[in-house]
Symmetry: C2
Subunit: 340 residues, 2 copies
Amino acid sequence: MDFYRGRRVLVTGGLGFIGSNLVRRLVRAGASVTVIDAAFPDQGANLFNLKGVLEEVVLVIADIGDLEEVSNYLVDQEIIFNLASSTSHIGSMQNPFKDLERNCSSQLRFLGAVRELSPGARVIYTGSRSQYGTPLYQPVDEDHPTKPLDINGIHKCTVEEYHRLYHQLSHIRFTSLRLTNVFGPRHQMLHDGHGFLNWFIRKALAGEELQVFGDGSQERDFLYVEDAVDAILLAGATGECEGRVFNVASEVPVSVAEAARAVAEMAGVGWRCVAYPKDRLSIEPGSVRLSSRRFREATGWSPRHTFLEGLERTLDFYGRHGHHYFHPAKGRIFLERKLD
Amino acid sequence: MDFYRGRRVLVTGGLGFIGSNLVRRLVRAGASVTVIDAAFPDQGANLFNLKGVLEEVVLVIADIGDLEEVSNYLVDQEIIFNLASSTSHIGSMQNPFKDLERNCSSQLRFLGAVRELSPGARVIYTGSRSQYGTPLYQPVDEDHPTKPLDINGIHKCTVEEYHRLYHQLSHIRFTSLRLTNVFGPRHQMLHDGHGFLNWFIRKALAGEELQVFGDGSQERDFLYVEDAVDAILLAGATGECEGRVFNVASEVPVSVAEAARAVAEMAGVGWRCVAYPKDRLSIEPGSVRLSSRRFREATGWSPRHTFLEGLERTLDFYGRHGHHYFHPAKGRIFLERKLD
C-alpha cells in the first residue's frame, strides 16, 4: 500500500459501490484522490459511501464524457481507476441506445482526453463476468470467447477494447479486470438490477421472504468487495499487469440457493423458488465459474474473506447503516439533467 | 439465383462499392430491391454505380439510423444485406466519436427497428479482415481473437455483436461475412482511405508512378468484387449460414509489391517503394491471410476470378467509366446536413 502514498490517483465512478470502497482505501494509503462520478439516479452513487473521507478527496459530479466539466481534473494523473459504468442488463435491452451513450460514448470521449492530458498513465478498467455470456467451458479463463447475453455486456467489451487499442498505441498503459459477482457494503439497495445478493440482504433485513428464480442451482463465484478492492489496488501497483486482461473471482462456487439460504438463516427469514421472469431468463448464463489463476500468478492476490464472512460483514453494515441506502433520496445527488 | 426471384430484399449501403455490385445482381435475379444509403460525402456512394438499374429499385437516401426516414422501408423485408458502414481507418483514430455515431449508433437504431418491423428476417452483415488486427497465426480462421488496430475495427466488431445477440434472442437470423481486401469496379476513386489497390489503379490511369509503403512484402488475399457478391448472395440463400460468422477471401496471397507491379505493367507506369507515413504504420497488420474453409464448406462457394483477371476487368471499367469516379462531385448526392 506504500505504493500509493502521495500518488495522484483518479477514480471514476468513485461514489458507487466498488469505487467508493476503493477510494476509502486509497485515502487511507495516503494517495491524492480525485473522484469523478455522474451520479446517475439509477446507479449506485451515494454520498454516504464516502462518509469520513469526503473532505479528503476532490469530488467532481459530472459524466466522464463531459469534457468541459472534467478535463481540468484529468491532467497529470498517475493512476486512473476507470470504474465508471452504467450497468443495467435488462435496461440495456429495453433502451440499448442509452446504454451506448452512457458507456461507449462517454468512455471514448474520456479516454481521448486521458491520452492527451495524462499520457502514459496507468489505467485500470473494471470489466465483468457478463462479457463471457454462457460458458462454453469451465472454469472460464481470459481466452474464452466473449459472447455477452445483453447489450450492456457488448458495450463492456467495446470499452475494454478502446483501452486495449490505446495501450497498443502507447497512449495509456491499461489493465482490465473482469470481475465476477461482487457483493458487500456500499452497494445500492434501491433495485435488484445490479446483482441479487445485495437485494436478498435488503429483503431479508426488511423481514421479507427471499425469492430465488428457477431452482437456484446455478452457481456463482461471489467476491467480497474488499477482496475486489485488493485486486484493483494490486493491479494498479503492478507493472506486470500492464497490457493484460485478468479474471478476478473467488473461485469458490456457491449456488444461488445456497446464497439465499445463508442470507435467510443469518437474518431469520424464509426463502423459496419461483419461476423465472421471462426478461431474466434470456440474460441468464447458468452456472459460471471464472479462473483467476493468471491474476493470482501475476500479483500474488488471493481473497481474504470467505463467502460467509463477507456476508456477515455485509449484513452487519446494512443493519447499522441501512437507512442511508433504503431511502430513495437520502445521500443521493440531484442535478438538473435532460431526461433520457 | 432463382432463390431471389420475387423476394423482398433490402440493401443498406446499396449505392456504395460492394452494395451497388450486389444490387445489380439482385435486380438481374428478379428480386424486389430497396436501397438505403446515407451518401456520406467521404464514402463510396455514386449514382453511376446503379446506372441502368436505378429505375428498378426503391432508393432511400438516409442514414439507416434515422428511423423517421427509413422505418417505412424496413417493414416485412425477407432478406437484409446490411452493408452500410462508414469506413475510415485513419479517420476513426482522428475522430473516433464520429465513427461511433455513424456505425454503432446508427446500426443499433436500425437493428432495433428491423427486429420490430421485419421480425425473423435474414440479415447478412459484412464485417472485415480489420476485425482481427495483427495475425497471431495464419491463415486466420474465425476463432482467431479480434484485436483491431483502429477504432473503426473495434466498432465493426461491436456491430457484428449486436447482430449476434439479436440472433441469439431470435429477433433476426444473422450471418456475418468478414471480407478480406475487396477490389473492382464501382469503388470510389477520390481518396486512398478504402484500400490501396483501387487507388493504384486511379494513379496508374492518370499516368502517375505508384508508391508502395514500406518494402511491399506484406501479403493480402485480394478478392474481386463479383466473387465477394457471389459469397454474399450465397449467404443470403443458405439456411446453414444462419447464426454463423465466416471469413471470405481468395486464399491466394499476393504481396503489395506484386499487386503494384501488376497494375503498373498493365497501365504502363512505374512504381517504387517509399517510407511508411507514421499514421499508416500503426494500423498496418503486416501480412494477412484468411481461411475461408468454413464458408466454402457451408456453401460450395469459390472465387471465379484470378487476381489478374479481376485486375484487368477493373482497369477496363475505369478506363471506360473513370470520369464518373475521378470527378469530386459527379454522380454524388448532396444533402443538407449538419457538419460533423
